[in-house]
């Protein structure tokens, strides 16, 4: 599937907070059909960058240009937050929520929800309160909630930061599978090994600046900047 939203272009975007520029200026194009990893140390601006692309953060200057606008644009995107937002509902109702917002037929919405419960391995916990899930299960639930609308693009903000190895592997498998189904994935992480495993291309940020954007192989084998080179060697801490 080729997303009708892409390519998307960032044109001189900056984000300021309390008078300080925390991101940008960034000029960059988000291409279709690949797993994009936004890489950088803590405080690099990864979260702000993803929020900006998704429309949760407004730029102070510049603009993000998509191929669609309005509801068509936002309904074709999903976002998975670093700390999963758990609604005060059962696991099943949490996952079904985006479909109920879009007024999908009740029977159909439950059918799709059951499919996603199976797919993320939460079928046996569907009737439990979402708050009773473990961190890994909550993130799986959030991922299912993000994917249930079959979006063209999913943004993920360090979704595996607080997860153990098994949960991380499980989440990555779901993401890979979603990508094979035609979903474009843009994921922020500071985990180099995860980036190596998943990335088709890498966007490297440092102190709010886009330092490098290249294919995964090029980025890890022959980084073009000193900062990226230091980061891949584990020497760039902040």
């Amino acid at each position: 599937m080729v997303s009708t939203l892409l390519p998307a272009e960032c044109v001189g975007v900056t984000v300021k907070r309390q008078g300080r520029t925390i991101l940008g200026p960034i000029d960059w194009t988000l291409e279709d059909e690949c797993f994009t990893i936004v890489l950088g140390p803590n405080g690099a601006g990864k979260t702000t960058f993803l929020r900006l692309l998704h429309g949760l953060q407004q730029p102070r200057s510049g603009k993000v240009v998509w191929q669609k606008r309005g509801a068509d644009l936002y309904c074709a995107q999903s976002f998975v937050f670093q700390t999963p937002i758990v609604m005060r509902r059962s696991v099943l109702e949490n996952i079904r929520y985006p479909l109920s917002v879009r007024k999908v037929d009740r029977e159909e919405s439950y059918k799709q929800t059951r499919y996603w419960l199976e797919r993320v391995g939460l079928a046996d916990k569907s009737e439990l309160d979402a708050a009773s899930l473990s961190g890994g299960e909550r993130q799986k639930m959030a991922l299912a909630r993000a994917l249930i609308t079959r979006p063209d693009i999913v943004f993920l903000d360090e979704p595996t930061t607080n997860l153990d190895g098994a949960s991380t592997a499980s989440l990555e498998a779901i993401l890979k599978s979603a990508q094979q189904d035609g979903c474009k994935i843009v994921m922020a992480t500071h985990d180099l090994s995860q980036a190596r495993r998943l990335a088709d291309d890498v966007v490297f940020l440092h102190k709010g600046k886009l330092v490098e954007h290249s294919s995964s192989q090029l980025f890890f084998d022959r980084p073009q900047s000193d900062l990226a080179s230091a980061f891949t060697r584990g020497e760039l801490l902040t």
Binding site: H54, C75, F79, M87, R88, Y97, V101
Partner: protein, 234 residues
């Protein structure tokens, strides 16, 4: 002390004998209070949700005003409603003064700010928690309000029961607009005030105990029906 224990004994005697007058004023108390609380909830809950998730120019002022109105003196409310509903007032033609409807109006004015303000505080927290998700899902304002009210139903229930507590114990306003007329507008609180005035403390205390029992019964029933305390549910 004799009055106190005598009052407790008399209360149980009244309850178990199903005294006709007691049943009548108890039912009227419930009718007036529950009507006022239901109307207040219909106004106060959406108003609280709207204030929690909307940003407009005089929002802070509106919230401060609402909080201040939680402490509206019932006697003043009663006086204002009296003047509005009296023959010479703007709504005098409706002939509502000294009727249960006038009492419901007065109680609604007292209870609505309480429910709205407590709802706003509860839903503000929830909105803070849900904000990014609901924005990300491109929900409309009505959907957000609906989601907040549904997911915040437990604290909203508490807010509504707080309003009920205030209404069932209210005496000043309903005394003024209802007039404490026997078989027409007399309720438990106004009956207690009357008996205290007559010096019959034992009967006043027994009516007070019935009032408390009714309040406890309503609270327990609501909690049981809404299953708020059932383990493992929201």
């Amino acid at each position: 002390m004799t009055d106190f224990f005598g009052g407790i004994f008399a209360a149980f005697e009244l309850v178990f004998s199903l005294d006709e007058d007691l049943v009548e004023i108890s039912l009227r108390s419930m009718q007036v209070t529950l009507s006022a609380v239901v109307i207040s909830a219909f106004i106060g809950l959406p108003l609280g949700a709207y204030l929690a998730l909307s940003r407009f120019r005089y929002r802070r002022f509106a919230i401060a005003l609402l909080n201040a109105m939680m402490g509206l003196p019932p006697v003043v409310v009663g006086l204002v409603v009296y003047l509005l509903l009296s023959r010479s007032g703007p709504f005098g033609v409706l002939d509502l003064l000294f009727t249960p409807t006038a009492m419901i109006i007065a109680q609604t004015i007292i209870v609505t700010p309480i429910i709205a303000s407590l709802s706003h505080q509860a839903l503000r927290e929830l909105w803070h928690q849900y904000h990014d998700l609901l924005i990300s899902l491109h929900t409309g304002k009505f959907q957000r309000m609906k989601t907040l009210i549904w997911d915040g139903r437990r604290p909203l229930l508490t807010a509504t029961l707080t309003g009920f507590g205030r209404a069932i114990g209210e005496v000043g306003a309903i005394m003024i607009v209802g007039g404490n007329i026997d078989h027409l507008t007399r309720v438990l609180t106004t009956a207690i005030a009357l008996e205290v005035g007559k010096g019959d403390f034992q009967l006043a205390l027994s009516l007070g105990i019935v009032l408390i029992l009714l309040a406890v019964l309503v609270n327990l029933s609501v909690h049981m029906l809404s299953k708020t305390e059932r383990a493992g549910t929201w």
